[in-house]
């Protein structure tokens, strides 16, 4: 199908209670190109945690969409972000995932840069017979348009024309705080990393975290495991929530500006959460209401590339779009700095058990994503119907739970757990339309 205006793909008619999305948004290589240009390259993206590069001259490499990026800490402790591409012929300057270097020397022809991005050496410059125009040019690494952090989470934007980070985050600050306040001395990313790709569009994972509806079918095998664990059988080192009781709680979701969103559920057995062990200490720091929110299951989306999720343990999960039909996922597991080894082990076992690509949930998620990606080839199915649960009880603005903690969502939904609201998918698609339209019209992403 020939490309249509962005608005065509998201059939969004709130007065009529209609919200449908066209399958091409997950499937079309042309739309994918535009997403890279108009979304990933024109807004804030999550990059890393400050604690991943704690020392002077530490660096870490990542991507914003398809653009290789390096984040450095200079000798004075200041963070910098650059395009990870040599000014000479474009090779990546920092080739490793992370490291420590006073100088970054390009392995192709040896140009060198310091952690502030300054070019400190052009090999054999004196004898190069460069013309004056070359000497007049700047040879430093190209800095990101913006770089800033909040509570140790580092964000960057290729474009400088973005709102200040704190404004952009808005109420997501609350969800980041709920992660980062779980330890009395702060939180750290636990060493070790798991990276995997799936055969599906990047928005599949983004939406999946907002989709509690799939859990008892796609993860049906875990019902049998959960039954065993209740009887003390199987991998008891990884306590999981009882999935029967889990169906008896309240669920809710919020739509925030700039494409951010969050779903939450109450937890029937908070004592299974590693956070519960230190909840009294947490209450003294953050108060009873926030402590209770830490025990709720939460999955907040920072649009477009991060999930701030706490299904059983707090994690940060990034999705990197590779193509319309392939996405790379990486997760960081967070734990309180100074946590006891026993609590740390339980936290790790819970994460591995469920979230790892060899666990009980992720293999099935990524398999059904691949199934969707095949199904999107069915040209007779245009608009999909997976965005409407809970809309019948949607409230404009904040509901009671949101007001209690000072959140200002655009819309709120809550209900019994089995309502399984799909509201969490709306904010990302509305922002998707907004950014795609602005790009196509040649306008700035943010006015």
């Amino acid at each position: 199908m020939a490309l249509q205006p962005a608005r065509f793909y998201v059939d969004d008619r709130p007065e009529e209670g209609v919200f449908r999305v066209h399958r091409d948004v997950y499937h079309s290589p042309e739309l994918f190109e535009l997403e890279m240009k108009y979304i990933f390259e024109r807004t804030w993206n999550f990059l890393t945690l400050e604690s991943q590069i704690p020392k002077a001259n530490d660096y870490i490499t990542t991507f914003i969409g398809r653009t290789p990026v390096v984040v450095t800490r200079d000798a004075k402790g200041q963070l910098h972000g650059f395009l990870n591409a040599c000014r000479h012929k474009g090779a990546t300057v920092c080739r490793l995932e992370k490291g420590n270097a006073k100088f970054h020397v390009c392995l192709y022809h040896g140009w060198a840069y310091d952690p502030t991005g300054k070019n400190v050496s052009i090999k054999q410059r004196e004898v190069a017979d460069y013309p004056a125009a070359f000497d007049a040019d700047n040879h430093d690494l190209i800095p990101l348009g913006k770089l800033d952090s909040y509570r140790g989470l580092v964000f960057g934007s290729l474009s400088p024309d973005v709102p200040p980070l704190l404004d952009h985050l808005g109420d997501l600050k609350f969800f980041i705080d709920l992660h980062m306040d779980q330890g009395p001395n702060g939180m750290e990313a636990i060493p070790g990393r798991v990276a995997y790709t799936y055969r599906g569009n990047w928005k599949m994972q983004l939406e999946n975290g907002q989709d509690p509806y799939h859990v008892d079918t796609a993860h049906g095998s875990f019902m049998a495991i959960s039954e065993r664990r209740r009887k003390g059988q199987g991998n008891v080192a990884a306590p999981q929530l009882d999935w029967q009781k889990r169906n008896e709680v309240q669920i809710g979701a919020y739509e925030f500006p700039y494409g951010h969103t969050s779903v939450w559920h109450d937890v029937a057995e908070p004592e299974r959460r590693p956070t519960f062990a230190t909840i009294e200490e947490i209450k003294t720091r953050v108060g009873a209401v926030h402590a209770e929110w830490m025990l709720k299951q939460r999955n907040a989306v920072f649009f477009p590339n991060l999930q701030i999720a706490d299904q059983i343990v707090p994690i940060l999960r990034t999705f990197r779009p590779i193509s319309a039909g392939v996405t790379e996922l990486r997760s960081m597991v967070l734990g309180p700095i100074g946590e006891s080894d026993d609590l740390r082990a339980t936290r790790l076992r819970q994460f591995e058990d469920f979230v790892n690509p060899g666990g009980y949930a992720t293999p099935d998620d990524i398999t059904v994503f691949a199934d969707c990606q095949v199904g999107f080839g069915a040209t007779g199915v245009d608009f999909l119907q997976g965005y409407s649960r809970g809309l019948g009880v949607m409230e404009q603005g904040a509901n009671e739970e949101a007001r209690e903690v000072g959140l200002h969502p655009l819309t709120s939904v809550k209900g019994h757990r089995t309502q399984n609201t799909e509201l969490g998918t709306h904010a990302p698609f509305r922002e998707w339309v907004r950014l795609m339209e602005a790009g196509a019209a040649g306008k700035k992403a943010y006015e």
Partner: protein
Amino acid sequence: MTTAVELIAAGTAVLSREAMYLDERRWDEWVALFPTDCEFWVPTYTSEGTLTKNPKTELSLMYFRGRGGLEDRVVRIRSGRAPAAIPLPRTTHIVSNILPLAPPEPTIVRLRSSWACHAYFPLMNENHTFFGRAEYELSLRDGQWLIAKKKTILENDRIPFPIDVYCL
């Protein structure tokens, strides 16, 4: 008196049977190769070249202390409710370069192996080869050689398919 050569041969036979049981989906016999107090560990890399060293404080791809974790995976495979296992990938394990890590003892044999698991995913009509090396502690219990400890290193760890115990 059993000779070192015989002990290593006995251990090697366990490694071959382990691979065969996985490939032939003889799950009960596979699980029975492990004692109830076994340790099954698949560490992760922290970056390009460094493996995690301590499963208590660092992330693993899998870590089971006790056979229950393996039994759970079999329950999952047989549940008929796991999309990633419907249909089950077909696998062929090749296990080679088996060498002792220490002089074998009458009831303990420590071996290392190099392994490759060729997996065909019928759903996607694609192949992938998972590969790496492994370290074993085999223990003679009631006349049977069992896998008391296994540490599996997955070298190609940017994982492009859902994985399970049969991929390693």
